[in-house]
Amino acid sequence: MRIAPLLALAVIGLPVTAGLAGTVLPAFGFLPALGRETFSLEPFRELFAAPALGDSVRLSLVTGLAAALISLGLAGAFTAAATGTPAFERMRRLLAPLLAVPHAAAAFAFAFLIAPSGLILRLLSPWATGFERPPNVLVIGDPAGLSLIAGLVLKETPFLILLILAALPQMPTTRSRQLAASLGYGRMAGFVFLQWQPLYRQIRLGVLAVIAFSSSVIDVALILGPNLPAPLSVRLAQWMVDPDLSLRFMASAGAVLQLFVTMAAILCWIGLEWLGAVLLAGLRDRGLRFARDAIARAMAVGLPLATALLLILGILALFLWCCAGFWPFPDALPGNWTLRSWRSAWPRLDGPLATTMIAAIASTAIGMILVVLRLATRPSGRPPAALSRGVMWLPLLLPQVGFLFGLQLLAIRTGTDGTYGALILSHLIFVIPYLMIALQDGWAALDPRYERVATALGASPLRTFFAIRLPLMTNALLAAFAIGFAVSVGQYLTTVLIGAGRLPTLTTEAVALAAGDNRRIIAVYALLQTMPPLILFAIAAILPTLLWRNRRAMAA
C-alpha cells in the first residue's frame, strides 16, 4: 500500500525521463545501438544547416504564444463578463462536449469551413461574393500559421474555460462581485481587478501546458499549418521517419532544440505575465471604474460562443461531406447523396476502431485506478508536494517530440513497439495528468466531515472509501473517465511512434488521410473519431440524473 500512491508518478516519471535521455543522447551523437559511442556536436551542425530552420522555429514560437494568448484572453474575458450569470452555466454545458472532439477532428472541421472552397464561402457564393471558382487565396497553411493558430484557439479556449470553471468555486466570486459593484466598478473591471490574479495563479500550469502543446503540436499542424516550411515539430517527425538513418541524430538534435523553443516560449510568456501585471496594477491604481461595459461584455460572451458555434458548424460540414456525391464549388449543398464513402471505408474501420477503444478504455481504467489510489492515500487538506505536482504536469509541459523519440527507440530496443502493452502505457503518460486535473478539485471539494462521520459511526477506512467516498464521487469519476478517454482517443504522435504503424487508431488513420485530401473519407474518419468520446461525455452527463433520480442532492 505504501507504493500505491507512487505508481501514478512512476508510470509518468520513468518513461518521460528515459524518453528524454533517449532523445538527448542521440542528439549529441551517442547511440551505441547504432554503433555510435562517442559524443559530438555533428547532429546540431547538421540541424542548423537545414534550410529555413529559423522560420520553423519562429513559427513554433509564435504559434505557441499566440494560441495561448488569444485562448486565455477569450476565456478570461468570458469569465469576467459572465460569472454569476445563467450564460456561464449554459456555456459549461456547451463546452464540455467540445472538449471531447479530438484535436485532429476539430482541425479538419475548421479546415472544411474556412478553406477557399469551404462551407462558408460556398454558403456566400456566388450571390454575395461573385465567386464562380474558389478565390486563389492561401488560407489553410498560410505561411504565418494564422489558420493553425485559429484552429488551436478553437480547442484551447474551451479547455481554459473549463479549467477556470474548476478553479472558480474555491474563490469568493459573489461577494467580491458585489463589493466591486458597490464601489462603482463595472462587472468586468471588478472581476479583473479583484479576482483575476488569484484565479490565474490556479490555472497557470494549464496555460503553460497550452503553450507547450501549441508550440510543438504535430497533428493539427499537419492539417492546418504551413508546409514551406512547416513548424519545427512537424519537420522533426518527418526526419525521424526518413530512410537516411543519420537524420535520426539530426531529428534528436531538433527535439532538443524544440525543448529550448518551448522553454523560450514559456520564458516569453513569463515576461508577458509580468507586463500584464504591471499594466493591470497601473489601471487599477488610477481608480478607473469601466462601469459602462455592456458592449465589451457582449463581445466577451459572444466571441467564445462564436468559436464554439464555428466548431459545431465545422462538424456539420463533416456530416455533409461524409455523405456527399459530386459536390462542385460553389454549390452550398452536394448535388446528390451517397453512402459510398462509408461503404468504402467501413471494411477497414474495424481494426482501428477496436484499437482505439481498447487503448482508450484500458488506459483510462488503469489511469483512474492509479489516480484514485493517489488521491485516496494523500493526507487530506494538504496540497500535493511540489515534486509530485511537477511530475504530473511534466508530460503536458514538455513538447511531445522531446521524449517520445527516445521512448520509441526504447520500445524498439525492448521489442515492445507495436504491442498493446506499450501503447496503453504510453497513452497513460498523457491520460493520468488529465485525470488528475479532472478529479483533484472535486476530490478535495468533498466535505471531509462525511468521511469523519462514517468513521465515527464505526466504519473501517475501506468501508468508508467504498460506501461513502466513491459513491459521492460518482459524477466526478464519470466526467473524468470521459476526459481521459477523449485524451487517449486523440493521441497522435504517441500512437504513431509506439504503435509502430501496426496499431493504427482512428486518429492516426484520419491524420494519415489528411495527406490524401479526400474530403469524403476524411469526414468519415473525423466523425468516427469524434463519436466515441462524445458518446461518453453524453453518458457522463446523463447517467448521474438516471442513477440519482431519487437523490436530489446527487443529481446536480
Binding site: P15, A33, P347, L513, G516
Partner: protein, 414 residues
C-alpha cells in the same frame, strides 16, 4: 513497480550494452523460394504486415480485397500498414537492423520503387538472394515488352523486388471549364501558360513521388542533350542539367496556385482542387486515375486526358520483402498473388483502380486474356493515340538531388 523496472532495464539496454536482444532464430529454418509447397505450408496462419502508401482510397480498397483473397486462398491475413511516405517503412527496417533485430522484423512487404528501393538494396535490407523471378507467376510477367519491370530507375532489380503495376505520367483537364487547345502540351510550356492563367496549376511538394516526378518530367524536357541522365548525378552534371529547369520553376512560382506558398500533399489532393475549379490541370502516374475518380464522384464527368505528344515518364512499381520479415513466406505468397491474372485484372479495372498490368496479356490463358480485353477502360483513360511515348526514368541518384535542391530553393519561407 515491475513496470518501472522494465523501463529501467530497457534504458540500460539501450544506452549501456550494445548486445542484441533478439538473436537471429529463423534464418536456417526458412524454406527456399524454389520449394513453393513448403512456402505455402509455412505461410498458413501468418499475418503479413504490408507497408503501403495509403493516400488513395481506391488503392486502399484494392488492398483490402487482396487481403480477403489471401485469406480465402491460403489462410494468410494481410494487414495494410498505411504510410504517407514509403520512406517510413524503409526507416523502420533500417532502425531494426541497427538495433540488431535480424529476424522477426515488423515489416513483411513494402510497396516500393525508385530511390527507396535503391536505398534498401544498397544497405542490404532486402530478402536475398533474388527471389522475384522464382515466383510461380513470374512466367506471365512481360519482361520483354515492359523493360522497367526489371530495371527500376535504371538500377537492375536483380530479382529483389517483384513488379506490381505500370505507371505512366498522365495529364488531364476538365473540358467543361477549359479547352485542350489553349492548355500546355508539355511541362516546359506550363510556365508561359501560367502567366495568363495565374493560380491554375500546381504540383505536389517533393519528396511526394508525383511532385518529384513532375520535376523529373521538366528535367528530361529541358536538360541539354549532351548530358546522359541514365548516369548517376554528380555536382557538375547536376548544375548543368537543371539550370533551365530551375529557371523555369522560378518563373512559374509566383503564378502557381496559392503563389507557390503551399503545394498539395499528393495527387489525390489535386483531384479535389480540379473538381472545385481551383486548378485546370491534373496529373497522376496512373492512366486510369481520372476514370476511377469520376466513378467515385470525386471528379466531374467532363474530365478528359490532356495529351503530351513528346512523351512522359513511365516506370514500374514493385513490392519487396525486407531481410528480417517475420512473415516472409506469407509476404512471398502475397507478392506472387499480386502478379496473378486474377489480381492484375481487377487492378486494371478503371472503375476500381485502373492501374496498368505488368503481365504479357497475349501470353495468358484464353479466359484471362478475354477478361483483360473486356475491362472497362473508363471515359478519361487515354486511348493509345493519346498516349505519348514513354520516357525512361533518370538514374535514381537524380531524384535525391532534385528534392534537396528544390527544398533549398523553395522551402525557405518567402
Amino acid at each position: 513497480m515491475t513496470v518501472g523496472k522494465a523501463w529501467l532495464s530497457a534504458a540500460l539496454c539501450l544506452f549501456g550494452l550494445a548486445g542484441s536482444l533478439s538473436p537471429a532464430l529463423a534464418e536456417n529454418k526458412a524454406p527456399a523460394v524454389s520449394d513453393w509447397t513448403a512456402i505455402e505450408k509455412a505461410a498458413e496462419g501468418q499475418t503479413v504486415q504490408w507497408n503501403a502508401w495509403g493516400g488513395a482510397e481506391n488503392i486502399n480498397a484494392y488492398i483490402d480485397w487482396v487481403g480477403e483473397r489471401m485469406e480465402a486462398l491460403y489462410g494468410v491475413s494481410v494487414n495494410h500498414v498505411r504510410l504517407s511516405d514509403t520512406a517510413e517503412a524503409v526507416s523502420r527496417v533500417l532502425a531494426e537492423k541497427a538495433a540488431g533485430r535480424t529476424a522477426n522484423g515488423s515489416v513483411d512487404l513494402i510497396w516500393i520503387n525508385g530511390e527507396n528501393f535503391v536505398a534498401m538494396k544498397e544497405r542490404g535490407l532486402l530478402e536475398t538472394p533474388g527471389w522475384a523471378t522464382l515466383l510461380p507467376n513470374w512466367k506471365y510477367v512481360d519482361v520483354k515488352g515492359k523493360p522497367t519491370v526489371v530495371t527500376d530507375f535504371t538500377v537492375p532489380t536483380d530479382g529483389l523486388e517483384s513488379p506490381w503495376g505500370m505507371a505512366k505520367l498522365t495529364f488531364w483537364h476538365d473540358t467543361a471549364r477549359t479547352e485542350a487547345g489553349q492548355l500546355p502540351h508539355s511541362a516546359k510550356e506550363i510556365a508561359d501558360w501560367l502567366k495568363d492563367n495565374p493560380g491554375r496549376f500546381t504540383y505536389p511538394a517533393p519528396p511526394d513521388f508525383i511532385g518529384s516526378t513532375f520535376l523529373k518530367q521538366l528535367l528530361v524536357e529541358t536538360a541539354p542533350e549532351k548530358i546522359d541522365l541514365s548516369q548517376p548525378a554528380t555536382d557538375e552534371n547536376f548544375a548543368a542539367a537543371t539550370k533551365t529547369m530551375f529557371a523555369m520553376l522560378d518563373e512559374m512560382r509566383p503564378n502557381l496556385w496559392r503563389g507557390g506558398q503551399r503545394h498539395p500533399e499528393n495527387y489525390p489532393a489535386m483531384k479535389a482542387l480540379l473538381a472545385d475549379g481551383e486548378i485546370d490541370i491534373l496529373f497522376a502516374f496512373n492512366p486510369g486515375e481520372a476514370s476511377s475518380g469520376i466513378a467515385a464522384g470525386e471528379l466531374p464527368e467532363t474530365v478528359r486526358p490532356l495529351p503530351f505528344p513528346a512523351g512522359t515518364l513511365g516506370n514500374s512499381h514493385f513490392v519487396t520483402v525486407p531481410f528480417n520479415a517475420a512473415n516472409r513466406e506469407g509476404a512471398l505468397l502475397l507478392a506472387n498473388f499480386l502478379i496473378s491474372p486474377e489480381a492484375q485484372i481487377r487492378k486494371e479495372n478503371a472503375e476500381l483502380w485502373g492501374d496498368p498490368t505488368v503481365l504479357d496479356v497475349a501470353s495468358l490463358p484464353e479466359d484471362d486474356r478475354k477478361a483483360f480485353e473486356s475491362l472497362p477502360r473508363g471515359p478519361a483513360t487515354p486511348s493509345p493515340e493519346q498516349t505519348g511515348p514513354v520516357i525512361v526514368e533518370p538514374h535514381a541518384s537524380w531524384q535525391d538531388r532534385l528534392e534537396a535542391e528544390w527544398e533549398k530553393r523553395y522551402v525557405v519561407g518567402g
